[in-house]
Symmetry: C2
Subunit: 321 residues, 2 copies
């Protein structure tokens, strides 16, 4: 069994990445509390039970704030032996020397109360496979961020995408268009006529060393994108937090939150992987919105602001042109 | 391609079953409207688009009633050629002559507004496989009913189970205990410490002719169970519909409805099969509750009525002893 506390000469990123995500978690929580002005994060430190293998996490939950109705900003570092199921899910060849895995990531979802402020999600993670000697045999980075507005403000969508693009461009200007497309292709309710859950962002997975982009490249890339989170989201919160709203706007928000639930529970690989590999349920499902509505065959009025949002979910736009 | 309108001498149950479920749908809808006293079902007749293959259904939705906040009572008869995915899901051997499939069923979910009235679900279905000549090569019945109370009344749980037991016993007294157990093993949120979504009922699947139980046996059994629905549920509605309740009871109902959503979207084979084989999304997801709440790590107070309900979901009881 891998010992996460033991320095491993073949794993150049593990310790730095863990330190990075923990510091980032502190920074994000402080900024979220600061803008909310009322709510405070509660922290649950958890460890996996012996039967579930090693590691644990730092779950931080906020709720009932001036701005934020529910949110979680979590980090975790978990590891264990590769089960048959994980080998299948991770597409690990039978002749691979990989025996153990380790995953370290930061994951956040924030659901504001005001339906004119979008919900936001981001998640950046590092994955490692080791052989029976504890030597690293494979590793990769993955992650992304996406915005789920209930009402569309072009200005907000542009800001979110431009901020992420600027972070990507620091490393390689070829990547934003690619990962924007991945994101549009990933956060999709296939069973809803391919409706996206929002206006997207960026998404990438299984990024391993490749020509011109060593492991260090993806490490730096993931740090740059993670670091862009607060810049991508807080200005939108500031702009919309005093927007007046009524019961009809909350109604629409709760309908759209229903689609968020559908995506997370039916399609999201991270959620399903977590639940099926006996991850900590409460930490995984902190992503679900606080109040939700499911109505049979709900259709927004033609020409309404609600329909305008739906249309952009059905046909993603280029926000940085 | 199978023609559902063509009489098929090798399929003794198809036409009778389709007629039976349609009549039962009428009967159930009339009884539900009658006890509600206000709401009326709206009906959506739908046909599968050519790319999705043949058949269609009769979706009936009720809402905003005196008693019922949201509900659906649906029938459908759908058929098509077996895809690779369906062969896999249905465990059809490669050397089988089966080429086409047909499924005919009734499916209902009723969510009352008053948290002292339980949510109820039932679903009975007939499945057929035919060869390239349209001759039936295999067929089976499946179905069940389960009750999801928010507050536990032993009297109601006993009534529900005793009514289903009486229906099973008409055909064979060995079956109720077996199918009660299947039900307790099926409607389970594995990711929630094996919490059941309610107090169960009966559940059975893939019931084919076997020694002492020809196809006709399962046809009669499924009719008997289906016919028991109104008797199993309406007396409970009558007993609880005037029970007074407050915001704290609605809150708990919405928390529990969250678990219903989790079960249906993460675990329910019928829901996932329907969505992944391009069934009609709105008809499938009518099962989702109207308003739902997801709260991080919600725990009922020790000794409370809410905790009493949770305990019975964690440790199913024998209700007919």
């Amino acid at each position: 069994m891998m010992d996460k506390n033991k320095h491993n000469a073949t794993s150049p990123f593990r310790d730095q990445w863990v330190e990075f995500i923990r510091n980032l978690q502190d920074e994000i929580c402080a900024a979220i509390e600061n803008i909310d002005g009322k709510a405070r994060f509660i922290e649950d430190l958890w460890e996996r039970k012996p039967g579930e293998k090693g590691g644990g996490g730092r779950t931080r939950i906020i709720g009932h704030g001036n701005i934020f109705e529910k949110g979680g900003v979590n980090t975790s570092v978990v590891f264990g032996g590769l089960s048959a199921r994980m080998r299948e899910v991770l597409h690990i060849p039978k002749n691979s020397a990989a025996k153990d895995w380790l995953a370290a990531g930061i994951s956040l979802v924030i659901h504001p109360f005001n339906p004119f402020i979008p919900t936001v999600h981001c998640n950046y993670r590092y994955f490692e496979l080791c052989d029976k000697e504890g030597e690293m045999v494979d590793s990769w980075f993955g992650g992304g961020a996406d915005l789920t507005p209930y009402y569309l403000f072009d200005e907000d969508a542009r800001h979110f995408h431009l901020t992420l693009k600027a972070a990507c461009d620091l490393l390689d200007p070829k990547l934003y268009p690619l990962f924007k497309q991945y994101c549009d292709d990933y956060f999709v309710n296939d069973h809803r006529n391919k409706e996206r859950r929002g206006i997207g962002g960026i998404f990438y997975d299984h990024r391993k060393p490749e020509e011109g982009r060593p492991g260090k490249f993806w490490f730096d890339f993931s740090r740059a994108c993670s670091d862009a989170f607060l810049k991508s989201y807080l200005p939108i919160v500031s702009r919309r937090k005093d927007h007046s709203f009524g019961a009809e706007h909350k109604y629409w928000q709760e309908i759209r939150r229903g689609r968020y639930v559908e995506f997370n529970l039916i399609h999201d690989r991270g959620t399903l992987f977590g639940l099926k590999t006996k991850g900590r349920t409460e930490s995984i499902l902190m992503s679900l919105p606080p109040t939700v509505r499911f109505e049979y065959n709900y259709q927004p009025k033609p020409g309404s602001e609600e329909e305008k949002l739906l249309k952009v979910c059905l046909s993603p736009r280029d926000w940085v042109e």
